[in-house]
Every structure is written in C-alpha cells, then in structure tokens.
C-alpha cells in the first residue's frame, strides 16, 4: 500500500515540476496575499510604494487616487515599474492615498499633515503663492533668514532620505507575523476545542446522572 504511494509520488512530482513553471511564466499575476505599502514625505514631495506581503510590487500603472480628509479628490497618479508613486504636495493637509490592486486588494495609506514641511499652507493656494514669501525676503535683503530657511529645508530632506529605509524596514517588520503570533493562534484554536470537549463531557456526565437517578426512582417505585 505504502509502496504504491511512494511509487506514485515521483510521477506526480514530475508532472508538477513541468506544469507549474510553465503556468507561472505565462501568467504575470500576483497571488492572494496581504497588501502592504507606505508613504513617506521627502520635504514637500510625497513618495509611496505599494505591493504584496510576499515581495511582489503593485503592477505598473496601478491608479493612485489622492484624497483630502473630506474625501475630495486632490489628484491622481499611477505607480511605476517598481510599485512606487510620488506626488508633489502643495498644501499642508492630511493626504489619503487609495489604491486598487485588483481582486479585492485595496490599500489605503495616509500621510498626516505634520509630516509635511511647515512652510506649506493648509489652505488651497497655488504653488506660485507659496513660493512668494522667500522671494519677498530676498528683496528685503535679510540673507540670514533665507539661509536658515533653506538650511532647514535641506536638513529636512536629508533626514527624510536617511530615515526612509528604516521606515520601510519597520513597516515590513510590522507586517511580518512572528512565531508568537502563530503559536498564539494555535493556542486559541486548541483552547476552544478544549472548552467544547469540556462542555460536552459535563453534558454527558449530567445525562448519565439523570439516567441513574431515573433508574433508582424506578427501582424504588417497583
């Protein structure tokens, strides 16, 4: 019996090894996994990425909707070959990013306003207007102010650049379930089973007792 099984296995495996790569090569689709992603501010430039928990990135050209906190559409963009998208923020507000990676995989990302540079105004203003103050200051001649402002921007950009890989690593780490999670889940399942069996046991014992009592009652009657 077992020999038959062992004999049959290699044949099945052979078929599997031929079939699976052929199908995989012919279908560039991603499989059902968790969707993961993150958005990071580099100065006023918001960069984000989207993909699946197994390391596949979002398909190039996936539409990205950018909404404000009231749900109004600000802009639309799309992902590149590596699942990365970017948006130049013009206002200092919460930016909500909405991606649909097909097959029920939707991803919502939020970039809070306080991660954007303070010199962006929260009101709807054109880019030109926000750029005006620095021009004014150049004219007024206070070079020290400009330098410190520019320096601040440079520092912000540099820090953001340095922190970006760390953020990516952290979000990947957050997505990864640990052994504790697995063991915890198993513990819950077995615990539930235990409770079920215990309740059943109690019921059976109760039934048995009831029966015995009835029999005793019958015996005394007769």
């Amino acid at each position: 019996m077992v020999n038959q099984l062992i004999k049959a296995l290699p044949r099945c495996f052979k078929g599997l090894f031929v079939l699976v790569p052929v199908i995989l090569l012919s279908s560039p689709f991603v499989f059902a996994h968790n969707v993961v992603g993150g958005v990071y501010a580099l100065g006023s430039l918001i960069e984000g990425e989207a993909g699946f928990s197994n390391g596949d990135m979002a398909k190039p050209g996936t539409a990205v909707k950018i909404l404000d906190s009231n749900g109004a559409l600000i802009a639309e963009t799309s992902t590149d070959e590596e699942g990365i998208f970017s948006y130049q923020a013009t206002r200092r507000i919460d930016h909500h990013f909405l991606l649909d990676l097909s097959s029920g995989h939707v991803l919502k990302l939020v970039l809070p306003a306080d991660e954007l540079p303070e010199n962006l105004s929260s009101e709807a203003k054109s880019v030109a207007q926000t750029a005006v103050p620095s021009v004014d200051k150049t004219l007024s001649g206070s070079d020290a102010r400009i330098d410190s402002e520019k320096l601040q921007q440079m520092i912000e950009k540099a820090v953001a650049k340095q922190v970006k890989p760390l953020r990516k690593e952290l979000s990947a780490y957050k997505e990864k379930a640990s052994l504790q999670d697995v063991l915890g889940g198993l513990g819950y399942i077995f615990g539930l089973c235990g409770i079920g069996i215990w309740i059943r046991q109690r019921k059976q014992e109760q039934d048995l007792k009831d029966k015995q009592r009835q029999e005793q009652a019958r015996a005394t009657v007769s």
Partner: protein, 206 residues
C-alpha cells in the same frame, strides 16, 4: 483569497455575514461532537497554511486546504474556518473583521460543496479513484472559492468577468498544488487513519 476591508459594498458584507452565520449554525448542529478534536486540528491546519508561503519560481503560493477540510468535516467546515479566519485577522492581519462573514462564506461553502460532490469518490475501494477524487476536490474547492471571490467583488461593482478571469488565472498554480496535496493526503489518510475522514462506517477497507 482573503478580501480586505474596504473592497466590498455594505449589502454584500451584510449578505455574506448572514449566510455565514446560517452556515455556522448548520455546521454546529450537524457537527459530530466526537470529532471535535479533528475539527480543531483542521482549523489549526488552515490557520497555519495561509501563513506558510511556498516559493515557486520567482513568486510564492500558499495552500488554502478548504477542499481537504470540506472532505473531512462536511458542514462542520463552517465553524472550523470561521475560527481560523478570525484568528488570522487578529494575528496576521489577513482579511478584516467586517469582511469576515464574506470570507468565511467564500472559503467554507466550496468546502461543503466539495464534500457533497467528492465524498462518494474518496470512499471508493480503489486507491487511484479515491486519490483522483481527492485531487478534484482540492482543486475544485479553490476554483469555486475563486469564482465566489470574483462574484463578491462583482456585486460590489467590479466587472465580474475581468475579476473572475484575473483571480482564476492567478490561482491555477494554487489549484494544481492544492489538488496534488489533497489527493496525496486522502490517499495517506485512507491507509493510516481512515477514521479521520469518517470513513470507518462507510468503508470496509482494502
């Protein structure tokens, strides 16, 4: 397989939840409580299976095992899968709480269907026939689940054919692996522990 929160419309969520509750109720009623440990073991197997990604080429797949669970448990697959899906949502962040009903229905109903369709096959006296039916059950359950996922999305506004095609093609490797694993599992369990598939009453042994 796991639809995430936010992808489905409210009526679909509510309908899925209602049907899932009905399924769980039937499952709890029909469940043979002598087989409670077995329900737990298979629930645990499903819980773990989605976590383990098997690398194939440059991508990876994970087993779903709803075919095997259906063949072994029948209607009891509903409560078993509900518990496993709930814990997956809590611990791994797979799916979500609002879509729990829809996800349970999409994964457990195919399991019950497979139980109805392939049950006769796996009790056959010929191991080859039984293994084939097991494989058909394993692959079939994934296929039905895929179609149901596509249908849930279609009811929420996504184009059905497009969604169905995309998910179906994406899951062909899963179906192959799943069919193979379920077939082999049925073959092995028949030899080693026939009572695990509740075969002892219907099957005289070979």
């Amino acid at each position: 397989m796991h639809i995430v929160d936010g992808a489905l419309s409210v009526p679909v969520l509510a309908g899925g939840a209602a049907l899932a509750i009905a399924g769980v109720a039937v499952g709890l009623k029909k469940m043979d409580y002598d087989h409670l440990p077995q329900v737990g073991i298979l629930s645990a197997a499903f819980f773990i299976a989605s976590y383990i990604h098997l690398p194939i080429g440059f991508s990876s797949v994970h087993l779903i095992l709803n075919g095997l669970i259906g063949l072994a448990l029948g209607w009891a697959a509903f409560p078993a899968l509900l518990v496993a899906l709930l814990l997956q949502a809590v611990f791994f962040g797979f799916g979500g709480f609002l879509v729990l009903g829809v996800n349970t229905l999409n994964i457990a109903l195919p399991a019950v269907l497979v139980y109805g369709l392939c049950r006769g096959g796996i009790v056959s006296s010929s191991p080859k026939v039984a293994a084939t039916w097991g494989a058909v059950g394993g692959a079939g359950a994934v296929a039905i689940t895929t179609v149901m996922v596509a249908a849930s999305l279609a009811l929420s506004g996504e184009a059905f054919l497009l969604a169905a095609k995309a998910t179906l093609i994406a899951h062909i490797p899963v179906m192959i692996v799943e069919g193979f694993v379920t077939g082999a599992a049925v073959l092995l369990i028949r030899k080693v522990k026939p009572e695990f598939l509740n075969l002892s009453e219907e099957w005289e042994g070979g």
